[in-house]
């Protein structure tokens, strides 16, 4: 060994080594979030992120009623835990507010996740996977939920959120027109063929002018057609798209036929509310809202109407698209057990879930609650109709969920553009499908 000269820099190495090690440990702990675990509050506090009013964009006068009831119930069982939420956040501002809270590290322990933003929040890892909590909780049975509603909270096989409230889209029928034309209400398992023939039957002029003023359908888009014909356009990650499969072609042909059935007239929502259109797809929440006594006078009042299942395409089924409001747990919460209890109370408790039919317009994702006779009675009482839960059961049973990858809305725009231009052009359909498939895929690739 070389005998080294004593030098200032040769001072004992270990203090410096240990100081470095301690600093590294501190940094790791800080990044790991040890500060969240250090609670200086005596009382436990659970925070909930929620927006004011109904998810279904209908003012109903009970902005926080169900949540308040759930909190009251929760406090009865856990008086030592305080539950707070920030009130007054509009639904339109909610996702931005939540993003800011997440970036500031002050995101609530539990928060509602609007369907459109589920993809974003799951992608950034803001949602805590709940599988372990579900597995360890003997009281919680995922089977109680409608499978598609439960699937809404899943990503890559992980349950990231639990559905709180949902609504399928259904076909609204102007019964007055059908009665006038002597057409019976379609069967629950009706097809595009039935749909198209009714549309053709009703499209004509009802007065002396000879101008066509009664139409078959409004607002039936490619999304409805693709769902009805069993098309899964995007893969789960939203990195590729298959636009060339035959069902896509069938759906586009059908849309073309529908357009032609409307005599080329661009039928709008206003025409339906004016009582001049036989069919329009709408969310079930809208049915509930406008059938209720309070709002029934405002719209759709000049005619008799009801909702039925969506028509089935040749390669598909009577499929409804499901929109769901979920509740998720903050991935950085330090109070998983308490948050899970409250989450469970909100989504899984029958009494709380029943309140959805009182104070909101959606339906409960718990099949036992939604399909109960009590619920049917309540809907009948409030809507004043002979509501049949069978329709709802069918719609929920065959519902599908929209892709939720981040950027889906933009991708949808691309497909809309494709469908529109195909409908407008007279070129070979299959050729166009191949060309647009390339365009959409290169868009998806460029986006990633």
């Amino acid at each position: 060994m070389i005998i080294k000269q004593k030098n200032a820099a040769d001072a004992p190495r270990s203090p410096r080594f240990w100081a470095a090690a301690v600093l590294l440990l501190l940094a790791a702990l800080l990044l790991g979030g040890v500060d969240r675990r250090l609670s200086f509050h005596k009382n436990k506090k659970l925070t909930v992120g929620v927006f004011a009013g109904s998810y279904w964009e209908i003012e109903n006068g009970y902005p926080y009623r169900i949540l308040d009831d759930a909190i009251a119930r929760f406090r009865e069982e856990n008086p030592e835990i305080e539950v707070v939420y920030t009130s007054g956040i509009l639904k339109s501002d909610y996702s931005e507010w939540l993003s800011e809270q997440i970036m500031q590290g002050s995101a609530p322990d539990l928060f509602f996740v609007p369907g459109n933003d589920f993809g974003t929040f799951s992608q950034i890892g803001a949602l805590r996977p709940l599988d372990d909590l579900i597995r360890e909780d003997p009281d919680f049975d995922p089977e109680a939920f409608y499978p598609s509603a439960l699937a809404f909270g899943q990503e890559e096989g992980r349950q990231l959120a639990i559905p709180y409230e949902c609504a399928p889209n259904m076909m609204f029928v102007n019964k007055t027109i059908l009665d006038r034309e002597g057409i019976a209400l379609p069967d629950p398992d009706w097809t595009w063929e039935d749909f198209l023939s009714i549309c053709r039957q009703v499209t004509h002029s009802t007065d002396e002018t000879g101008v066509v003023n009664q139409f078959g359908v409004s607002g039936y888009t490619w999304v409805d057609a693709f769902n009805a014909n069993g098309v899964t356009l995007f893969n789960e990650a939203g990195t590729s798209c298959d636009f060339t499969v035959p069902p896509v072609g069938e759906a586009i042909s059908f849309l073309e036929n529908l357009q032609n059935a409307n005599s080329g007239y661009n039928v709008s929502d206003r025409d339906f509310s004016g009582g001049n259109v036989a069919f329009q797809p709408m969310m079930f929440s809208r049915y509930r809202a406008y059938k209720s006594r309070e709002l029934s006078l405002k719209q759709y009042s000049g005619f008799e109407w009801d909702c039925i299942t969506m028509p089935a395409g040749p390669s598909g089924d009577n499929v409804s698209r499901l929109d769901t409001l979920c509740v998720a747990m903050n991935s950085r919460t330090s109070q998983e057990k308490e948050a899970w209890e409250l989450l469970k109370l909100l989504t899984y408790d029958k009494e709380i879930q029943k309140e959805i039919f009182d104070y909101s317009e959606g339906i409960s994702p718990l099949s036992g609650v939604t399909e109960s006779e009590e619920t049917a009675d309540m809907i009948r009482r409030r809507t004043g109709t002979e509501f049949n839960t069978d329709t709802l059961r069918r719609a929920m049973g065959k519902s599908v969920i929209a892709p939720r990858f981040s950027g889906y809305e933009e991708a949808k725009e691309e497909v809309s553009l494709a469908v529109r231009s195909i409908l407008e052009s007279n070129a070979n359909l299959q050729m166009e499908q191949i060309l647009w498939n390339r365009t959409i895929n290169s868009y998806l690739k460029a986006r990633k």
């Binding site: 080294k4 000269q5 820099a9 410096r16 470095a20 600093l23 940094a27 800011e100 890892g125 950027g407």
Partner: protein, 454 residues
């Protein structure tokens, strides 16, 4: 381990330190400071941008675009500062060998990677600090190339995009999207400039380090030649010393002979000449004269004996035999750490000088052999007297030897003993054992007896 040892290039204290030798250390410190400034710059701008997104209400858009949650704004500077401090501490720790250096470099790389990940891989020049640190050690070029290759690979890995995906890092360019195009370009420009300055400082450091190391080599060469010159001088001086000693001894011998034998012989010659003249005239007086001459001759003999005594070497010259032996044993024990068990009869004062010499030499030679060849740690010496024989038994616990090559030492011993008509036997099967028997003359003989046999 020896070839793994490392040493930092450093000026020794007390040497005249020219200013350039301290330059690498100074530049390295400046470089550390610069890296700290760069990381803090990135951190401050990033935190400001993060706050800006929240303030402007574009947090959702930012999250959608970045696809991950950024680190909490106050945690970012806190962790970056802590990691930078840990990084600088590690850099300042010197290493003693190559494994330590490799581990240290990897640890430093880990921290640099961590800081870079936190700061969106906007700056990766901290790796140059590792290279600069590693170059401070005295490493031969072959190994040095390996170090450079290792660090370069790590540098490339850090600049690749693979790690960015692995760490889910928000790239700096995206983080700074908050700023308007022109402001963002200026900020990225400043960052690039700082990075470039870091590279330039690194190049300067390497140049200065090379110059310093070259000048150090020259200094070592200079010192080496000085050392050789001094060595040569020392050799000359030693030769001179030998010559002088010889001359002095010669002079002493000449003086002794002149003072003793010369004096006596002169007296004897003068007396004998007087006797020749007196013999016929006065036989009685001649007889008387011859007696006087005999007396002078006897005195001369005594003088000669004294002189020879004075010329005897080492311990025996001044000490009695048993004291000399004790001293020999004591010195052997002290200087070699060997344990010597020594028994010696009290009645040995009557030995003649030649006998004492032989005895002394046998013991001395045996101890030397036991230590040098046998690597013994214990020696037992037993001298006993039975009748007119002196028995010497010496054994050690050393390695012994299967086949004894009678070297100069044993040969010499044999010769000495032969002169006294004694016998010598030895064996190396179990340690090394020497048995010698020396017949001694009983102390009746006086004066000249011993000398005759010498």
């Amino acid at each position: 381990m020896a070839d793994w040892s490392l040493e930092l290039y450093r000026e020794k204290e007390g040497e005249d330190v020219n200013s350039i030798s301290q330059m690498p250390e100074i530049i390295l410190n400046e470089m550390k400071l610069l890296n700290l400034v760069i990381f803090l710059f990135i951190t401050v701008i990033t935190v400001h941008a993060q706050r800006g997104y929240i303030h402007d209400g574009s947090a959702l858009r930012f999250l959608v675009e970045s696809g991950t949650i950024p680190i909490l704004f106050w945690k970012l500077p806190a962790t970056v500062v802590m990691l930078c401090a840990a990084f600088m501490l590690l850099l300042s720790i010197p290493c003693n060998n190559h494994p330590e250096l490799v581990i240290k470099l990897l640890a430093e790389y880990g921290i640099a990677l961590w800081i870079s990940a936190l700061t969106g891989f906007g700056y990766t020049g901290a790796v140059l600090l590792l290279l600069a640190d590693a170059m401070r050690y005295r490493i031969d070029w072959k190994k040095r190339i390996w170090y450079i290759a290792l660090i370069c690979i790590l540098y490339l890995v850090m600049n690749g995009n693979i790690l960015q995906d692995f760490f889910h890092t928000i790239p700096l360019s995206q983080m700074w999207m908050y700023y308007r195009q022109d402001a963002r370009n200026s900020l990225l420009g400043i960052l690039n400039m700082l990075g470039l300055i870091n590279t330039l400082v690194f190049i300067l450091y390497m140049v200065v380090l090379t110059i310093t190391q070259t000048s150090e080599k020259e200094r070592i060469l200079r010192l080496n030649s000085q050392l050789q010159a001094a060595n040569r001088k020392l050799e000359e001086y030693a030769e001179e010393q030998v010559r002088m000693t010889e001359t002095r001894e010669r002079n002493r011998l000449a003086r002794e002979i002149h003072d003793t034998l010369g004096h006596s012989l002169t007296g004897i010659i003068t007396g004998i000449e007087a006797c020749i003249m007196l013999m016929d005239i006065a036989p009685e007086a001649t007889k008387e004269q011859l007696r006087a001459i005999a007396e002078v001759a006897r005195g001369g003999i005594t003088d000669v004996r004294h002189s020879v005594n004075a010329l005897r070497p080492d311990a025996l010259e001044n000490l009695e035999l048993h004291r000399a032996l004790e001293k020999l044993v004591e010195e052997s024990e002290r200087s070699t750490g060997v344990k010597v068990d020594f028994t010696f009869p009290e009645d040995l004062q009557m030995l003649d000088q030649d006998e004492e010499d032989v005895l002394y030499r046998i013991v001395q030679e045996s101890i030397t052999n036991a230590i040098r060849h046998g690597h013994a740690s214990q020696i037992r010496i037993e001298i006993t007297r039975s009748g007119n024989d002196l028995k010497i038994h010496i054994e050690d616990n050393g390695v012994g030897c299967d086949e004894i090559h009678s070297g100069f030492g044993l040969h010499h011993m044999q010769e000495r003993i032969d002169m006294l008509k004694g016998s010598l036997s030895y064996s190396g099967s179990n340690g090394f054992v020497i048995d010698a028997v020396v017949p001694i003359r009983v102390a009746s003989e006086e004066e000249d007896g011993g000398n005759e046999r010498r």
